[in-house]
Symmetry: C2
Subunit: 148 residues, 2 copies
C-alpha cells in the first residue's frame, strides 16, 4: 500500500470520526441533555452497566485520576452519576449511573443510530455490516481516548 493511500484512508477515517462525534453530541443535546460533553459519553460507556472506580475511569479515558475525579464531580453535580461506597474496598468508591445517566446513555444510542443511518442509505445495509466487521477487527482493546 502506498503512502498516499494510507493518507487518504487516515484522513477519511478521522473526518468520519469527527463528524460522528459531533452528530452524536448534537443528538444528545437535542434530546434535552445539556451540559454534557463528548468526553462524558466515553465515561458513560465505562460506567455502564455496573459502575467503575475513578482509577478505572482514568485508565479508560487516558487521563490522570485527578482529572477523572474532577469529571466525576461534574457529573455528580449535574445528576448523571453517584458515588457509592465500594463493596470490599473501603478506600475506593464505585461510580454508578443514576436514572438520568441511563436516560442520557439511551439518548446517545439513539443519536448514534441516527448518525449512522445516512451511511446505510449511501452504502447499503450489507456494506455497512462489512464496515462494522472490519472496524471491529482492527479496533484496539485498550482505552478509548480522545482522538486528539
Amino acid at each position: 500500500m502506498q503512502n498516499s493511500e494510507a493518507i487518504a484512508l487516515s484522513a477519511a477515517l478521522l473526518a468520519v470520526a469527527g463528524e460522528l462525534t459531533q452528530r452524536i453530541h448534537e443528538g444528545v443535546v437535542a434530546r434535552g441533555f445539556e451540559g454534557v460533553r463528548p468526553a462524558h459519553g466515553f465515561a458513560f460507556t465505562r460506567l455502564a452497566p455496573d459502575g467503575a472506580t475513578v482509577t478505572d475511569l482514568a485508565a479508560h479515558l487516558g487521563v490522570t485520576k485527578q482529572a477523572a475525579s474532577q469529571l466525576v464531580d461534574e457529573l455528580v453535580r449535574k445528576g448523571y452519576v453517584e458515588r457509592r461506597p465500594h463493596p470490599g474496598d473501603a478506600r475506593a468508591r464505585l461510580i454508578v449511573l443514576t436514572e438520568l445517566g441511563w436516560a442520557c446513555t439511551r439518548a446517545a444510542e439513539e443519536a448514534a443510530a441516527e448518525a449512522v443511518r445516512p451511511w446505510v442509505e449511501l452504502l447499503g445495509e450489507g456494506e455497512v455490516r462489512v464496515l462494522r466487521a472490519q472496524l471491529l477487527r482492527i479496533a484496539p482493546y485498550g482505552p478509548i481516548r480522545p482522538a486528539w
Copy 2:
C-alpha cells in the same frame, strides 16, 4: 439496523480513530519532530500545498480565528510555517509551510502508512481498499475537527 449495531459501529470507529491519531503522533515524534500536537497535523493538511489564511484555517479546524492565530504563532515560533503578505489582499496574510513544515508533513505520511500496515496484515490488501473506499464515500466534505 438496530441501535446496538450502530453503537458497536460507532464505538469501533472512534476507538480506531483515537488509536490512529495517537500512532501517527508517536511516529512523528519518533522521527524527531518535537513540540507538535495532533492538531498541528490538521492545520498542515489545510496549509499544504499552497498555504491558507488564518480565517481559512480557523474554519477548517472549527475554532475561532483568534485560536487559529495563536496556533500559527506557535508554529512560526517552532519554524514550521511562515506568515507572508497575501497577494491581492493587504489585510490578509498567507500562511505557508516552511521546508521544516514539509519535512514534518512527510514524516506524518510515513507514520500514517506505518499505522495502517497492521490493518493490511489483519484484513488483507483488498479489504483495506474496500474500507478506504467506504470511508471516502461517507466522509464529510466540511472541516476536519478534533473528534472531541
